[in-house]
Amino acid sequence: MDPTLESPEFVDRLRQGDRAAFGLLVKAHHNMLLATARTMLSPADAEEAVQDGWIAAHRAIAKFEGRSLLRTWLTRIVINQARMMLRKGGREIQFDPSDEQDPLAHRFRDGGHWDHPPQHWDLSGPDALLTRDELRHCMEKTLGKMPDNQRLVLELRDLQGMDFDDICNMLDVSASNVRVLLHRARARLFELVDHFQETGEC
């Protein structure tokens, strides 16, 4: 993303109510915020959460103090909107890791050594891994089946590249819990690619 969209000058324009600047903000962040909201909500609800998020952001922007990146600030707003919508529907996203086993647990012997070690992945070409349509399709399926809390943490950390501590703060979850959720999400993806490399199937 264009670094000038986090500059103090740009933030000043936003705080003064510059409409063109707000348009640039929407343009740059909307799809990312939508991807975040979709980890918790249906596509239609996610659209609504992000739209409501823009309304909340527009109201609050004059008081934005620049203590975090705009991107972090906006993401926090949208996550709060999404959580509010979930609560209205009597649902809640939990961040305590469940007792679910580690997705890779079955690959170790009782003593903790590998029983079924990782395959050697064929990585011909710099980005050959996910360029194969079949694997991308499998990946989408795995992401779809992933628990919401793992999916959200993976989205923020590995798809959007957010700072780990920022994620803990915006979710108000301990670093150790975020670590466990992130590990489980990544381990699921690792399992998927490893299995695909071995069998050519999801």
């Binding site: 993303m1 409409r19 707000f22 348009g23 929407v26 343009k27 740059a28 909307h30 799809n31 990312m32 939508l34 991807a35 739209q51 823009w54 309304i55 527009h58 580690d102 890779l104 647990a105 170790f108 003593g111 903790g112 050594h113 590998w114 070690p117 990782p118 050697h120 992945w121 990585l123 980005d127 891994l129 996910l130 950390r157 590995d158 798809l159 959007q160 590249g161 780990f164 670590r179 992130l182 590990h183 990544r186 381990a187 993806l189 690792f190 690619v193 490893d194």
Partner: protein, 77 residues
């Protein structure tokens, strides 16, 4: 001696460059030196994370206008 299972659990912090204690870092390095399965796990985890699709496209102009218009109508209310 660190077990493979624990190395895999710690691998996420390692590839993220998260703060680990000197003791943890040393134990991990030592394990990776002697265990090629765990070495492969860490290497391939890095490849996997680097190949995930990042940063979706910017919103197109028409949709951006739509969002702004809905913002305006919310203020009229």
């Amino acid at each position: 001696m660190l077990k493979c299972k624990h190395v895999v659990e710690k691998a996420d912090a390692l590839v993220d460059g998260a703060p680990l204690s000197k003791r943890e870092r040393f134990a991990l390095r030592l394990h990776l030196l002697i265990c090629h399965h765990c070495r492969r796990y860490v290497r391939q985890l890095r490849v996997l994370l680097n190949s995930l699709p990042r940063n979706p496209d910017a919103l197109d102009d028409a949709r951006t206008r739509e969002v702004l218009e809905r913002l305006d109508s919310s203020q009229d209310r």
